[in-house]
């Protein structure tokens, strides 16, 4: 588990907030000391000393003890001020160590498991004579190796420099109709229901299929969940298939895509209003589209995206661009290589929770599958008592209390 309300960023923010409280206490206490000290110079007190010098002396002695440098106000103010400084310094060190840890972890973990991964690949190759199966064994054993290799190869930088060259065309949302079958016809009650509808959409043989689900709440308000399916085409050339490699290359580095354009068009056509709370859900490429769409929809005031759920999506390069108002739950299967294709672990931010468990049969396809890997991952996450996960699910609870749902299916295509 990484990030979220129980992550490093959250701890640092908590430290800084507590530091501020001690700093305020220091200021208020020292100000009190100054105000109380000034009372000694009240003319009335001076006159009273002439009539009752003993009483005056007793009061003065008590006051000096209260103001003084041992267990007095000045001492208390100094201790509070010191704690303010210490907590700020600790937060800065903690954050710095975590950044170092993120960079080092991939290299170290990737390196540690590289030898066992390669050894397993040799065994698999000897048994099956299938190099693809052997390659799968490597990534299943050591997914972090993918992070390291991809970064070393400079793939993200290459994509960032060339993504805008890819001809992406315009996204078109073709309405298919209202869907009442399977999970699409039922209002979701749990995280697993959300992933089950995503699976239903992804299992469609047609490419670029999305669902826009309008939830009607008991109090008359509405919310929307948009399910975005992932890559179905490996064609690198211009194609009307919105899920092609062009979309992957652009989305990985945060470029706007025709797929995103199509998703937004579908949301308008389905009747999602600008004040409806919206949750975007995506698998693989669909997850990247969900993140980029949320970023742009919120920035432009087009839709009120409050939550994003991704499954098996490489969002390490793009998630930080989301505003803090968007809560993200990134589901990752530990042996799935796809989340590592950006060469970067997901950021540890208060609004970004990355939850990882292990499912699948060790093959690239199965470990990336929604049905075989990510539905079980969702079940594990739903049952978790981890603080960050529980806080995310609590924040999303409104999406699980709908009275009814209307699901409209669209196919997003590309035209030039």
């Amino acid at each position: 588990m990484r990030g979220g309300s129980g992550g490093i960023a959250a701890d640092c923010a908590e430290m800084v907030a507590l530091a501020g409280r001690f700093g305020d206490a220091a200021t208020e206490t020292l100000w009190s000391a100054a105000r109380v000290g000034a009372y000694q110079f009240d003319p009335c007190l001076g006159l009273s000393a002439l009539l009752d010098p003993a009483g005056y002396a007793e009061f003065e002695a008590d006051l000096l003890l209260a103001l003084g440098w041992w267990r007095g106000l000045a001492h208390a103010g100094a201790i509070c001020g010191a704690l303010d400084g210490e907590l700020h310094a600790a937060a800065a060190l903690y954050e710095g160590a975590d950044q170092l840890d993120t960079m080092a972890r991939d290299v170290v973990l990737g390196g540690l498991l590289a030898a066992p991964a390669l050894a397993k690949a040799v065994v698999v190759l000897a048994r099956s004579r299938n190099p693809v199966e052997a390659a799968e064994a490597i990534v299943a054993t050591d997914p972090q190796l993918a992070d390291v290799l991809i970064t070393e190869l400079g793939l993200p930088n290459l994509l960032e420099g060339t993504a805008h060259w890819y001809r992406d065309g315009s996204g078109v949302a073709v309405p298919i109709g209202v869907n009442t079958t399977g999970p699409s016809g039922l209002a979701p009650r749990h995280l697993t229901d959300v992933i089950a509808d995503l699976a239903q959409r992804s299992d469609d043989d047609r490419h670029g299929m999305i669902d826009v689900r309008i939830l009607s709440m008991p109090d008359g308000t509405r919310r929307a969940i948009v399910d975005i399916s992932g890559t179905k085409s490996w064609d690198p050339l211009p194609t009307s298939d919105i899920t092609s490699l062009t979309t992957n290359g652009r989305a990985l580095v945060g470029e706007r895509t025709a797929y995103e354009e199509g998703v937004l068009a579908a949301m308008h056509r389905a009747g999602v209003r600008s004040n409806d709370d919206v949750m975007l859900v995506g698998h693989s490429e669909g997850g990247m589209i969900a993140v980029n769409t949320a970023r742009d929809a919120v920035a432009g005031g087009e839709f009120n995206v409050t939550h994003v759920i991704t499954a098996g999506a490489p969002i390490g390069l793009i998630a930080s661009a989301l505003p803090a108002s968007v809560q993200v739950l990134a589901l990752e299967n530990r042996t799935d290589v796809v989340p590592h294709l950006d060469g970067r672990a997901n950021p540890d931010e208060q609004n970004i929770t990355t939850a990882s468990t292990s499912h699948g049969d060790g093959t690239i396809v199965d470990d990336h599958s929604i049905d075989d890997a990510y539905l079980p991952v969702a079940a594990d996450v739903q049952a978790s008592d981890n603080r960050s996960i529980r806080d995310f699910l609590t924040s999303a609870d409104g999406f699980f209390r709908a009275r009814s749902v209307e699901t409209r299916t669209f196919q997003i295509t590309r035209r030039y």
């Binding site: 409280r21 001690f22 009335c44 009273s48 009752d52 267990r71 106000l73 704690l83 210490e86």
Partner: protein, 143 residues
């Protein structure tokens, strides 16, 4: 403006000091709640807890001392009030004595002795208090 201190002013100062004491205690309680709400655990957290307790403990100690000072000031104000009462009473007696000296000169002498006695007592209270305070200071210094 009166040359005598107003005990009500002294009590008002004592009340303000007591208010600072209450505010300091509230500050300590708020910090304790904020620290408890973090739920931090571990070696570093234990060390921080100790420092935080020192900070809030010192705030509470300072608050208690402010209350002690406020109480001392209230007692001082009460003594001032009593002394002023005696002085006013003494002054009234002298005025009455002067009137009686004009109208009943034969009865003035016993009354004059009474008034003089009151005056000696008031002066004695002030002087005695001064000597006591000086003695205490000398003892504290080490003479």
């Amino acid at each position: 403006m009166s040359v005598l201190p107003d005990p009500a002013d002294l009590v008002a100062i004592a009340d303000r000091i007591a208010a600072h004491a209450a505010a300091t205690r509230d500050r300590a309680a708020r910090l304790e709640r904020a620290v408890a709400a973090t739920g931090w655990a571990g070696f570093a957290a234990s060390a921080f807890d100790h420092e935080a307790q020192l900070a809030t403990g010192t705030l509470r100690s300072a608050a208690a001392r402010l209350d002690t000072a406020a109480d001392a000031l209230r007692r001082h104000a009460a003594r001032i009030s009593s002394l002023i009462g005696d002085i006013v009473h003494l002054g009234a007696d002298e005025v009455g004595l002067a009137k009686d000296a004009l109208t009943h000169p034969g009865q003035v002498l016993p009354d004059a002795v009474d008034v003089a006695g009151d005056g000696v007592r008031v002066v004695g209270d002030v002087v005695g208090g001064t000597v006591h305070a000086l003695g205490g200071m000398c003892h504290a210094i080490g003479f």
